[in-house]
Amino acid sequence: MELSVFDLSKQLGVAQDTIERWVRQGKLPVFKKGINYKFDTKELKKWASNHNIKLKFSDKTDLPQKQEQSIIPLSVAVQNGGVYFDIQGHDVNSVLKASIEKISKIPETFKTDLLDRLIEREKALSTGIGNGIAIPHPREQLSYLESPLVSVCFLDQPVDYKALDNKSVSVLFFILCPALKMHLHLLSALSFCLRDHQFIDFLKLKPDFAALVKKIEIIQKTNPI
Amino acid sequence: MNYKLLHIFRNTPFGRETFLQSLYFCKTINAFPVAYIPKSDKFLMYFSNDAVQVDLDHSYLTSPDTAKGHAEDLFKEMQIKPMFYEPKNYTASTLPDISTNFDYLCCPRSVSDLSSKIGLGHIGPKVRRIIKHSTFPILITSPVFKPWKSISVFFGGSKNALNALKLGLKIAMSSGFALKIYTLLEKQDESYYKDLIKKEGLAEPVKQLSSPWHFYEKKDFNKMLYDVPHDSLIVLGAYGHGIIKDILLGSKMEQIQSTVTNNLLITGPYCSVEL
């Protein structure tokens, strides 16, 4: 396979000037095609092994797949997570339990575990951020989830959540993610939405799934991230 | 963009004309000039496969104490910030190395026969060697400062000529001046040249930027040279197709250079021009 100067410079992580200089100094195996320099992958592999230099000649798609996938917007996460209504319960633990029961994307076997984690998190610091909203989430990543979800649960009755503004809470936004970075991103996107007073009022109306997703999409567009 | 031109300053009235030309050139195409005031009568340029020594004649070392001041005055006259080049490395104590990291180099006009060396600086035959090895175009100025108002490209179809054409287009774009192409029909007809341009993907820019393409029969060479406007910048490639012919009969470049008084911008074989 042939490589151009540009390709090789990307492979080795050096500037094109450097490759040209090494060719001029006779340090790289090269052959000329017209007036351009070209490199043969076989020759280069031999050269690299002689010089203890690591070279990857596999295709571009062979980049190490990190855990993070591309950023998923909040609206999509909500679509994944679903919107649920009439959650029963009169205290933190019971509404959490009831919500988890309803959220379909959580595998049955993990529900108890998740509940425990959420309760633990609430004990450390309440996730009631004010204005009747709470954002329960576990501290750890949930590797059994395929993709991040944000589940919106409207409570039947407001509950005392020991929130920051001491108001009772009627909407829960569950943020459940397989990776920490995703979690932070969704948290940030959500907090951006929740700064908008119109959105808070909108939530009080207990909108349905489609309307809520649409509203979130609109707000998202104004977020530069 | 950040194009740099190196000018070797001669502190004489003749050098003044040359320098004004360089300054005008830079101003027009948005490059910036750097002046080198020689302290010794020779310098060395290391290219990738050759070391070229340029011997300057003594007029380059005239009145060294006033040289910098004169150069600064000329810079200011053209409203360009004065920038000077100081060689950092020396091959021998009187032989400085001049860097080849420039985008343009300005040489005064050279006449190839030695008898007319008067006050022109003996860069003479060295210009050819520099052109042969340099990766940048060489600007050879007219004897007297004359602002050029259009660009004329001599297109002979060779690789060098293609580079010259690309350079001409580039200059037309940054200066806003009109571009004219002149071709001497040697063995092929017009369509051959037009196809060549199309193959290189230059058909569009040529159509946009240049006024009609002028073709001439081989016998009308001198007529072609006269038709080029006196205040036009001529852009051409260094070697044409036949190298043997060049050596025996004197290349077209030399012929052109000794007949017309326009400023010449010459691209050598190692130049690569990107649009």
Partner: protein, 575 residues
């Protein structure tokens, strides 16, 4: 027609592309032969001129001869060949370190002519440095003709050098060792074979044309155990003499430079001085090979005191010749001074301990030569091998090693840089492969710049900047002026942390109020050493590069480290 040309081009390419060893050997032997011929030409012409001028030496006006020679030589160099001033060998080393051995074509012959004029008229200099320069230039231009890359060109320069020295002294190993020890500075396997072959080629050329080597005939010597102790003494003495020689050379050169006399006046003064000394002590004139020969064979007929003064006279004469306008090398004068020192030492030994069973005077002359070569040029191996090849045997090897190593060590201690390298080191241009200085000089600032930077306008509101910050991973933001795109300053995230976290500032501040305009910037013309010094002085890890008031990119120390390591691996690997 072009099809045939292409065929040959392809053949050539296939044959030599993948393994250029064959090509280098062939080209190297050609270089060795050519430089050998150049060396022979110079030697023969020197011989004939010396013979020609010999009858005139008895006249009173004969002292003018070296002056005339020096005058013609410097005139030729200055006006006709337009060479730079200088010794020549440092120029070759400089080119090998910085520019892959590119040498001008005129260097192949210009120094031959100039040194012919200088030495032929009696100037005290050696023909070796000019021949080395010619040989190197021949090798370099052969490489240029074949379109070779730097590494191959450097090998050919070494071949030219080796051929030259091998030819002059009829000593191929000395030629090879000199080329590698002094010029190239590294023992790489790829280099050794072509250089060795070139050395042999050069020596053979010399042997073929000058079959009975009158000079440097191989003579056997009887050296015994009794000589070890005196060798130590001789080593110390030669070390002192070496240091003295080097210092005198340098001083006279400085004085000549400082004086405002035009070059031809200096040449005349220098030459006349040498001429006058030469009238009384002919041994100081010219390159002195004949004198060396007679000292070696023990037929040298000067008394002790005369020889003692001759040492200093020769030092002075060489300094006057080379420092004041003449052209030539110091190798031969080193040999002469060395043998004179050896002879003096032996004579004194004989006076002090008349019945000492040590070797002959000739043997001590040889040891003295080694001592000087090792001391002045700090090339101990060259010194040893040269003498071994001259004597044709290894009997002298033990005292040779003693003298050579002690002399070079001692003079290194006093004068850390050898004569050839000193001026390069002073200019910071002594760049042996794999050294820090070399890497820093090879890496160009353009290769290290990162140019992918989002620039911000100086009139941007801080709030907008904060928004930008959310999506960017830059730590530095260059600030530019709106219309002209000129560089104005830099915003360093670490410096504005406290403002970035204070929302009250967001709408109150424009970027040109919080940007840092005092940040030191580099330009594309700076070399890496300068940039690193600037960073160290200002405790910076990153530095903006600005050219003609426009922001070009940033240089960071982490990137420098990556590329530095890469470069080091490339330079020291065994390719």
């Amino acid at each position: 027609m072009s099809k045939i040309k292409n065929f040959f081009k392809n053949l050539f390419r296939r044959l030599f592309q993948l393994d250029d060893r064959l090509l280098l050997i062939i080209a190297g032997s050609i270089a060795g032969i050519c430089s050998g011929l150049a060396a022979v030409a110079l030697r023969l012409s020197l011989e004939s001129v010396l013979e020609l001028l010999h009858p005139f030496r008895q006249y009173g006006w004969a002292f003018i001869l070296p002056a005339v020679g020096a005058l013609l030589s410097s005139f030729y160099l200055e006006k006709i060949a337009r060479e730079g001033a200088g010794h020549g060998v440092p120029e070759v080393i400089y080119s090998v370190s910085r520019h892959g051995g590119l040498l001008r074509f005129r260097s192949s012959y210009s120094r031959l002519i100039s040194s012919f004029l200088t030495i032929g008229s009696g100037g005290s200099a050696g023909p070796e440095a000019p021949v080395v320069m010619s040989g190197s230039a021949i090798g370099s231009n052969i490489a240029k003709f074949l379109g070779l890359n730097d590494r191959q060109r450097i090998t050919l320069v070494g071949c030219g050098t080796a051929g030259a020295i091998a030819s002059i002294f009829n000593a191929p190993i000395a030629g090879m060792v000199f080329a590698i020890e002094v010029i190239l500075g590294e023992w790489k396997f790829v280099n050794i074979i072509p250089i060795a072959i070139a050395a042999v080629a050069g020596a053979q050329v010399s042997h073929a044309i000058i079959p009975d080597q009158v000079i440097f005939n191989h003579l056997p010597f009887q050296v015994g155990g009794a000589d070890i102790l005196p060798s130590l003494g001789l080593a110390v003495v030669t070390a002192m003499v070496s240091v003295l020689f080097t210092k005198v050379l340098r001083q006279t050169g400085k004085i000549a430079k400082k004086s405002s006399l035009p070059f031809w006046a200096r040449a005349i003064i220098g030459g006349s001085t040498v001429g006058i000394i030469g009238m009384f002590m002919p041994v100081v004139l010219a390159e002195g090979y004949h004198s060396i020969q007679s000292m070696i064979s023990g037929t040298f007929s000067m008394g002790l005191f005369f020889v003692f003064f001759a040492v200093f006279a020769k030092i002075f004469a060489t300094a006057m010749t080379l420092g004041w306008g003449g052209s030539g090398g110091i190798f031969a004068p080193c040999l002469v001074i060395g043998s004179l020192t050896g002879v003096v030492f032996h004579k004194m030994l004989m006076v002090l301990v008349p019945s000492f069973g040590c070797a002959s005077e000739g043997a001590y002359a040889l040891l003295g030569m080694t001592g000087l070569v090792s001391g002045v040029m700090q090339a101990p191996l060259t010194g040893i091998f040269l003498i071994v090849e001259i004597t044709g045997g290894y009997e002298t090897i033990l005292p040779l090693i003693v003298v050579s190593s002690i002399s070079s060590t001692m003079s290194h201690y006093i004068e850390p840089a050898s004569f050839y390298f000193k001026e390069l080191i002073e200019r910071g241009q002594f760049l042996r492969p794999g050294t820090d200085a070399r890497i820093l000089s090879d890496l160009n600032i353009r290769e290290l710049i990162e140019t992918e930077f989002v620039k911000v306008s100086e009139n941007m509101v801080f709030r907008k900047f904060i928004e930008l910050l959310k999506t960017s991973d830059q730590n530095f933001f260059p600030v530019i002026e709106d219309g002209t795109q000129e560089y104005k300053g830099v915003i360093q995230i670490s410096a504005i942390r406290k403002f970035a976290l204070d929302p009250g500032m967001y709408d109150m501040v424009f970027l040109n109020q919080i940007m840092d305009t005092n940040v030191m910037t580099a330009s594309l013309e700076n070399d890496l050493q300068e940039v690193l010094d600037m960073m160290d002085i200002n405790h910076m890890d990153s530095m903006p590069v600005v050219e003609n008031n426009r922001f070009v990119g940033m240089i960071s120390k982490t990137r420098i480290l990556d590329l530095y390591r890469r470069e080091l691996i490339m330079q020291t690997s065994d390719h």
